[in-house]
Amino acid sequence: MVESLKRNEILDSVILSLTTATISTILVSIFGIPLAFVLARFQFKAKFLIRMIVILPLVLPPLASGTMLLGVFGPYSFLGKMIPIEFTQSVLGIVIAQTYVASPFLILPIQAAFESIPERYETVARTLGKKKWQVFFTVSLPLAKIGILIGLLMAWIRSIGELGATIMMAYNPHTVSIQIFEDSAIGGIRNSVAGIILVIIIALVALTIFVLIRRQRVLKFGW
């Protein structure tokens, strides 16, 4: 197992997964947090449709998601022909697959967090002279902080564990999930243990960081 851990491709795949998962989580949060707020606070006609689109990656088999993404970003797709960028078999492909698959893991808990904040706090802030966007940054966002942290963590962990859609979009370069899949296919379970252990360690570290942040917050604010 120690020998396995020393293999460059394992460490490389772990570093690649950590990097792409972080980029994907940032990307999801840029559009996911405002979208979660809109879904939590506003009533509009297309709301049901948008909710369905958000939930879709959860219900679709990951391979089907990957196939769908290939249809949009593949070299023979409309987008692939129009834009001279290699979306598939690249780091970009990995990020696209992870962003798509991880998005509901970020949006849904954050939407629930916004919904749990009584709207009267936002109304009070407006009567105190704050504009709508100021209310979002000074009241809604800080009050939903725990939900946002949970959403970010879940999206990040899901991105690291992502396999199905990534296989379709970018088998190479190998993320840690693809490396484990390949090691297992070639050399059986023993060959893939190192990768699995590394992923478990990453998950434990992430969880510990989250618990520490939450405890500090509880000590400071009592909730």
Partner: protein
């Protein structure tokens, strides 16, 4: 500052608020009304949380009907204090101020004065969860006062506070609001709030203003029954007395209404003006002067008797003192009293409930 509502109407489907016509000057207008009468909707219209279908809201001559909430400079104290749980007390107070304002020397002095007036200096570092209901409402009041609002709106701010703290805060609130000289609308369904805080009253029922006027005007119109049982019940439940404190010894305060000396329990500064409530049912009538432990025995004349079912309201007068005693029909028959008779009105010093204090 003057706030005017001209023909303001809001249709909620099954319920229509208005048309409302009201004027609030630099004093406290108490809006009274039963649940569902439209009190909160009325102040939400003024705050901009709701938009009227018709009519105009004018503040100091400027139309604010279509202004967004944040531009109206309205200080709104909600029923639930709604302090932000992610901020401590001090940061809650500063919440509405811009960074530049927070750093201005004048503003810092102003903030300190408000904090001192409300007696909350010791709370500044505390978390919101560590405050009592009364403390939370004081912080919520400080949070709006630091902004120098054009108008203050208060929606039953004392309803979530235990009754002991409520009495104390009520008296403090009157003195704080008087100092501010800002038009204030105070929504309530508590009788005590009227006597403790009101300069004027508007009574709202089924979305319409049924009665309005100064506290004196409304209290002097007690004989005139209105269409609303709720209003009659509230206004006719008590006697409201105002007097000047002459002496205070061992928690017993002597006060004067004209030349009549009366007593109440509590500590008040001599020469301060106090307002007290005496329930009609608590005034005993006696034809003869009896030796009793009660401290308040006043020789009065019966000026009117209003009979309803088995109850008789006996209107009494002696100099500047007007009282109403509520007795049963059989008690009136036993006493054989009639309009024009002279009689003794008796009540203990613990009966008058002090509700307002205006120091010299």
């Amino acid at each position: 500052m003057v706030l005017e509502l001209v023909n303001v109407t809001k249709n909620f489907g099954k319920f229509v608020l208005g048309p409302l016509n009201l004027t609030v000057n630099n004093d406290v207008m108490v809006i009274l009304g039963p649940t569902g009468s439209g009190k909160t909707s009325l102040i939400n219209l003024i705050a901009g949380i709701l938009m009227p279908d018709n009519g105009n809201i004018i503040l100091n001559g400027i139309e604010i009907t279509n202004q967004p909430i944040e531009k109206r400079k309205v200080g709104y104290v909600f029923q639930d204090p709604s302090l932000f749980p992610h901020l401590n007390v001090y940061n809650n107070i500063l919440f509405g101020l811009r960074r530049k304002e927070r750093e201005s020397k004048e503003k810092i002095i102003h903030i300190k004065k408000i904090i001192d007036d409300l007696d909350i200096t010791h709370l500044l570092d505390r978390r919101i969860d560590d405050l009592s209901g009364g403390e939370k409402q004081k912080v919520s009041l400080a949070r709006i006062l630091v902004l120098n609002p054009n108008i203050i709106l208060m929606d039953e701010p004392l309803s979530h506070i235990d009754f002991l703290a409520r009495d104390k805060l009520r008296i403090e609130l009157r003195s704080i609001l008087r100092k501010q000289q800002i038009p204030t609308i105070y929504v309530t369904h508590f009788e005590e709030d009227i006597y403790a805080l009101a300069d004027s009253i508007a009574f709202l029922d089924k979305g319409k203003v049924e009665e309005s006027g100064t506290l004196k005007e409304i209290l002097n119109s007690y004989i005139r029954p209105t269409s609303s049982l709720f209003f009659n019940k509230i206004i006719s439940a008590s006697n409201y007395l105002t007097g000047e404190v002459t002496k205070c010894q061992n928690d017993l305060t002597e006060f004067k209404i004209g030349s009549i000396i009366l007593y109440t329990i509590g500590k008040f500064l001599p020469k301060s003006k106090i307002g007290l409530i005496v329930k009609r049912e608590d005034i005993i009538l006696s034809k003869e002067k009896i030796r009793t432990s009660a401290r308040n025995i006043v020789f009065v004349k019966i000026v009117d008797m209003v009979k309803t079912d088995n109850i008789i309201d006996v209107y009494l007068k002696s100099g500047d003192l007007n009282l109403i005693s509520r007795i049963t029909r059989s008690a009136a028959e036993d006493l054989k009293i009639e309009i024009g008779d002279n009689i003794y009105a008796v009540f203990k010093a613990s009966i008058p409930h002090p509700i307002r204090e205006e120091k010299e």
